[in-house]
């Protein structure tokens, strides 16, 4: 148990020290975090709902809808 904890503690300090000693990397991490916030929080949540999942409750309804669309559009 102690060995496992020691292993994870080493990994933690490896990343911790790495991030602390960053110079250019800090700026990049800010860009990454802002970008991920815009992509996943704003875009995904408000602008890109999954069309079929938001309109139908189960796969049968989804397949019926797509079938109907494919037949009607020909």
């Amino acid at each position: 148990m102690r060995t496992i904890l020691n292993f994870f503690s080493k990994i933690w300090y490896f990343y911790y020290e790495g991030f602390r000693s960053m110079t250019v990397g800090r700026k990049l991490w800010i860009i990454i975090l802002v970008k991920l916030f815009i992509l996943f929080f704003i875009f995904r949540l408000f602008l890109f709902p999954d069309f079929l999942n938001s309109k139908f409750n189960n796969d049968k309804e989804r397949s019926d809808y797509v079938r109907e669309q494919l037949i009607r559009r020909k």
Binding site: L47, V66, R67
Partner: protein
């Protein structure tokens, strides 16, 4: 009942997808190529123990890190668009995309994120051998991530290893290996990643040439150019080889794309390859006008490249529309007779398949087994032409010929130019005259945007050349699109444009600053 789809929704959705893909592909090729160059440079450092190689490795690693950080997750937006704008398509492809994309996600996360951390944080903390292994695994991981997304794309160009389930209206994977190892997927992967290697090589040569012009970091620049030009020459020759393999696959599986790439309207035996040419503006299939205002052709080469035979018949756009010729290859030998059928006939077969799908569903609902079995048989027989049901006229099967033709020729011309540049740089380096050849150094600097242009035009050929298909022969864009309002797509198009442009400006500014700072002692983090 025929239901119309708002054409502007299709156009804006296509534009949005193209915009996202183009921006995404500005970041990816450099990651693919530079990661291997860094691994090679670090290998030299570990082998020689020369600290200058460590410094060189760290400098390029910093630029790699900037590109990776700005580009990471830009591709995820393409997946958002599948679910929102292209829901019919997303449903129709079923689990074909699920498996490759899931593997891609796992690989990208575990391989790249784990070993990139060791690459950047691990200097002097882990052994040289472990650090070097991490650098190689980062490069391999990045390339394997690309494999899965390219396999998915190749399936859209040449659907294989699946069967269509009429009950779920989804394609189901029946043979993973057929999907993974389809000749289109193998060629696409090799051609695409090798274009990334060439991008990385030209990036390194161009930046190093700038240092030579500024008379700074001479040793670093010369060593970097040496590694990059050897790597670039080998990979650009491989790029040409895989490009030939891709064209051979296109000739077999997407003959209309090949005809558009060459501006070939009327087929013939022993067709030459257009080395350069100007298309007749406004030329339409069947209008009797010459396709070219002027062209220079290499005799018989298109027949050789497409069919490995100097006298092979290469069908043109008009032949593919009208049918009636004997194809050298048939994409569907089991279904197609020895004589190619017209697009008009394919449209009829497609409509028969779609109608049969409706009858099958109705018959199943009332438990009429005989009728549902009969409809299923008709649908299966005609399924290879399923997507043609949605074309309103045969000419709808023709992609944009000028865009495909010019993109293809720009890509090929630049590919040849890159090979010559690598040779010229290597020669000048060997003769120890590179620093004096300022024109060659400036040419190297200005080739950086050209390598991105070549990469983008390659994708334009691949994607616009296969129009109207989202999935070759099975689903055109107008059947794939969701029934959504065009205005919402317009808004997100401009939002993406703003976000991506901001990211690109950030990348260029941060990178420019780091380049002007140059390599630090021990590198930068």
């Amino acid at each position: 009942m025929i239901e119309s789809v708002d054409l502007s929704t299709i156009d804006w959705s296509r534009a949005q997808f193209a915009l996202t893909a183009i921006y995404h592909w500005l970041f990816v090729p450099l990651t693919l190529g530079l990661s291997f160059l860094i691994a090679i440079m670090e290998t030299i450092y570990v082998k020689t123990g020369d600290p200058e190689w460590k410094r060189i490795t760290k400098f390029w690693m910093t630029l790699f890190g900037i590109n990776f950080a700005i580009g990471v997750a830009t591709g995820i937006i393409l997946e958002f668009q599948f679910g929102t704008n292209w829901s019919n398509y997303s449903w129709f492809v079923g689990d074909i995309f699920g498996a490759p994309l899931a593997i891609e996600g796992i690989m990208a996360f575990f391989l790249e994120s784990t070993f990139i951390a060791v690459m950047f944080f691990g200097w002097n903390k882990v052994s040289k051998g472990f650090h070097l292994t991490s650098s190689w695994l980062t490069a391999i991981g990045a390339n394997l991530s690309a494999l899965w997304i390219l396999v998915a794309n190749a399936w859209m160009q040449y659907p294989a290893g699946m069967h269509f389930n009429p009950d779920t209206v989804r394609n189901e994977m029946v043979n993973f290996w057929e999907v993974l190892l389809s000749p289109v997927a193998v060629n696409k992967f090799l051609h695409t990643v090798s274009s990334g290697y060439v991008t990385g090589a030209i990036f390194v040569i161009g930046i190093s040439a700038w240092f030579l012009l500024k008379k700074r970091e001479l040793l670093m620049a010369q060593r970097s150019i040496l590694v990059a030009s050897i790597f670039g020459l080998i990979t650009s020759l491989f790029l040409a080889f895989t490009g030939d393999g891709s064209a051979y696959q296109v000739a077999q599986k997407q003959p209309m794309k090949l005809a558009a790439m060459e501006g070939l309207y009327k087929g013939e035996k022993g067709v030459g390859l257009v080395a350069m040419g100007i298309l007749t503006p406004g030329k339409k299939a069947g209008d009797g006008k010459d396709a070219f205002l002027v062209k220079i052709e290499i005799p018989k080469l298109l027949s050789v490249l497409g069919y490995r035979n100097t006298d092979a018949y290469v069908p043109g756009v008009e032949d593919l529309i009208q049918g009636g010729f004997k194809p050298e290859f048939s994409p569907r030998p089991a279904q197609e007779s020895a004589i190619a059928i017209s697009v008009e006939e394919k449209i009829n077969k497609g409509r028969t398949a779609v109608t049969a799908l409706g009858i099958y569903k109705e018959a199943k609902a009332v438990d009429d087994k005989a009728k549902s079995d009969s409809a299923l048989k008709v649908m299966k027989e005609n399924f290879p032409y399923f997507g043609y049901a949605y074309l309103n006229k045969p000419a709808s099967a023709i992609p944009n010929v000028p865009v495909t033709f010019y993109s293809f020729h720009i890509m090929v011309a630049l590919g040849v130019f890159f090979i010559l540049l690598f040779i010229a740089v290597l020669y000048a380096l060997k003769k120890k005259v590179l620093e004096k050849q300022r024109w060659l150094l400036w040419l190297s600097v200005w080739t950086i945007p050209l390598v991105y242009l070549a990469s983008q035009t390659g994708w334009i050929v691949a994607e616009m050349g296969r129009q109207p298909w989202v999935i070759q022969d099975l689903m055109p864009t107008m059947a794939a699109i969701s029934k959504i309002d065009a205005s919402s797509v317009v808004i997100t198009f401009f939002l993406f444009a703003a976000v991506f442009t901001a990211l690109l400006i950030a990348e260029i500014m941060i990178m420019k600053r780091q380049i002007s700072i140059g390599p630090k002692e021990g590198g930068t983090k």
